[in-house]
C-alpha cells in the first residue's frame, strides 16, 4: 500500500473552512449568473465585424462563454460590442441604440477604430466611442484577433462578477451618465 508520507494534502476551498459553509454575498451570486450568460449586440460596422464573424464561427466559438445568442435588438442585449469604425454620421445612432438597451448594460469597444478612431484621424470619423457612450472594456488591435475579442469578453465577465447589485442606482453611476447627458 502506498505510504501516506509523500501524499501532499491539497488545501480545501476557502468556503469549506472558516465561518459559514461556502457563505457568499448576494452580488456574487447575481454576478455569477449574469457573467456567464451575456447576450451580445454585435454592432458590427466594418473589418472588426468580419473578425467577429470568425469569433462566432466554429473555430473560436463565442458560444463557449455563454454569448451564443446574438440579439440584434437592444431590448434583450446585455453587452454592446461596438466593432469597427464609427463615423460622425453614425454617432447619434450608436447613442440611441445604447440608450435603448435594458439595464444592466455594458459596452466593449472592439478594435482601435471604436476605441480611439484608429488609423482614421479624419474629419468624418468619431475619435473613439467614449465621446458618446460610457465604455467598460477596450480591446486593442486593428482588427483584434478573435482570441483578443474573447479576452475582452472574459475581462468584462470579471467586471460583471465583481459588480455590486446596487451599482446602477449609486450616484457615482448617475454622475457618469450625466457626464454623457444621458437622462
Amino acid at each position: 500500500m502506498s505510504d501516506s508520507s509523500n501524499i501532499k494534502q491539497v488545501a480545501p476551498p476557502e468556503g469549506y473552512a472558516g465561518e459559514g459553509f461556502f457563505a457568499t454575498k448576494l452580488s456574487e451570486v447575481v454576478g455569477l449568473a449574469r457573467a456567464n450568460s451575456m447576450w451580445p449586440l454585435p454592432f458590427a460596422t466594418s473589418c472588426c465585424g468580419i473578425e467577429y464573424m470568425a469569433t462566432m464561427a466554429a473555430t473560436y466559438d463565442i458560444g463557449r462563454f455563454g454569448s451564443e445568442r446574438m440579439s440584434f435588438s437592444p431590448r434583450q442585449a446585455d453587452m454592446l460590442l461596438v466593432m469597427g469604425t464609427i463615423a460622425k454620421k453614425m454617432a447619434p445612432i450608436l447613442r440611441q441604440v445604447y440608450e435603448q438597451m435594458a439595464e444592466p448594460k455594458w459596452v466593449i469597444a472592439v478594435g482601435a477604430c471604436a476605441s480611439t478612431g484608429g488609423v482614421f484621424d479624419t474629419y468624418s470619423v468619431l475619435q473613439g466611442i467614449d465621446k458618446v457612450i460610457p465604455v467598460d472594456v477596450y480591446v486593442p488591435g486593428c482588427p483584434p484577433r478573435p482570441e483578443q475579442i474573447l479576452d475582452g469578453i472574459l475581462e468584462l465577465q470579471n467586471i460583471v462578477k465583481n459588480e455590486s447589485v446596487r451599482r446602477r442606482s449609486s450616484d457615482e453611476y448617475k454622475d457618469l451618465l450625466n457626464s454623457y447627458n444621458i437622462k
Binding site: 484621424d121 474629419y123 468624418s124 473613439g128
Partner: protein, 173 residues
C-alpha cells in the same frame, strides 16, 4: 477595323474641332480635354456613335487644382471603356473655381448618379439637371466641401490628440 487612339483622335477632332484639345497618351490610355459646354455632346457621341461605341462608364471623379488659373481650377474626369474593342479613354472637363458646373450624364449612363453625387459632395461641383443632387457620403448638415485642398485632413474640433506628440507643428504639416 480595330479602334486605335489615332482613329479616336481624328474622329473627335473632326467632329468637335475647337471644343476638344490637348490629346495625350499616358500609360497607353488616350486622354483629352473637353470644353465645359460641349462635355455632354462629346460623351453622347462617344457612347452612341457606332464607330466609337464606348458603352461602359467606368468612373467619374473630381480633382482640385488650386494653383491652376482660376477658370481651370476644378476638373471632372470621366473614364469610358469600349468593351468590344477593349479600349479605355479618359475625358477631362476643366471648370472655373467660382461656380464649377457641368452637365450631368445620368441620362446616358445611370451608373453616374451616385458618382456625380459623390463628386458634388467632395468638391462642390454642381451637375446640371441631376435627378437628386445632394450629399451622399458626408453628413447632410456639412457645408464645406472636404476634398478641396484647403480643407484640413484632421477634424479641427478634436481634443485628445495633442499635435506636439504627433510631430505636427503647423496646421496639417
Amino acid at each position: 477595323m480595330s479602334l486605335t487612339n489615332e482613329i479616336i483622335q481624328q474622329t473627335l477632332s473632326q467632329q468637335f474641332a475647337p471644343k476638344v484639345e490637348n490629346f495625350h497618351i499616358l500609360h497607353d490610355m488616350l486622354a483629352f480635354e473637353v470644353k465645359k459646354d460641349a462635355s455632354f455632346e462629346v460623351i453622347k457621341f462617344l457612347k452612341e456613335d457606332p464607330s466609337m461605341n464606348f458603352n461602359f462608364l467606368t468612373d467619374v471623379c473630381g480633382v482640385h487644382y488650386p494653383d491652376y488659373e482660376t477658370d481651370r481650377q476644378f476638373c471632372v474626369v470621366y473614364h469610358l471603356h469600349n468593351w468590344f474593342n477593349n479600349v479605355r479613354i479618359r475625358v477631362k472637363v476643366f471648370l472655373p473655381a467660382s461656380n464649377p458646373e457641368v452637365e450631368s450624364i445620368v441620362p446616358l449612363y445611370a451608373g453616374a448618379n451616385w458618382q456625380e453625387r459623390e463628386t458634388y459632395d467632395f468638391y462642390g461641383i454642381t451637375f446640371k439637371n441631376h435627378p437628386q443632387l445632394k450629399r451622399i457620403l458626408n453628413m447632410d448638415e456639412m457645408e464645406s466641401f472636404p476634398l478641396r485642398k484647403e480643407f484640413p485632413l484632421e477634424d479641427q474640433g478634436r481634443t485628445d490628440k495633442d499635435d506636439r506628440f504627433f510631430g505636427r507643428t503647423g496646421p496639417n504639416c
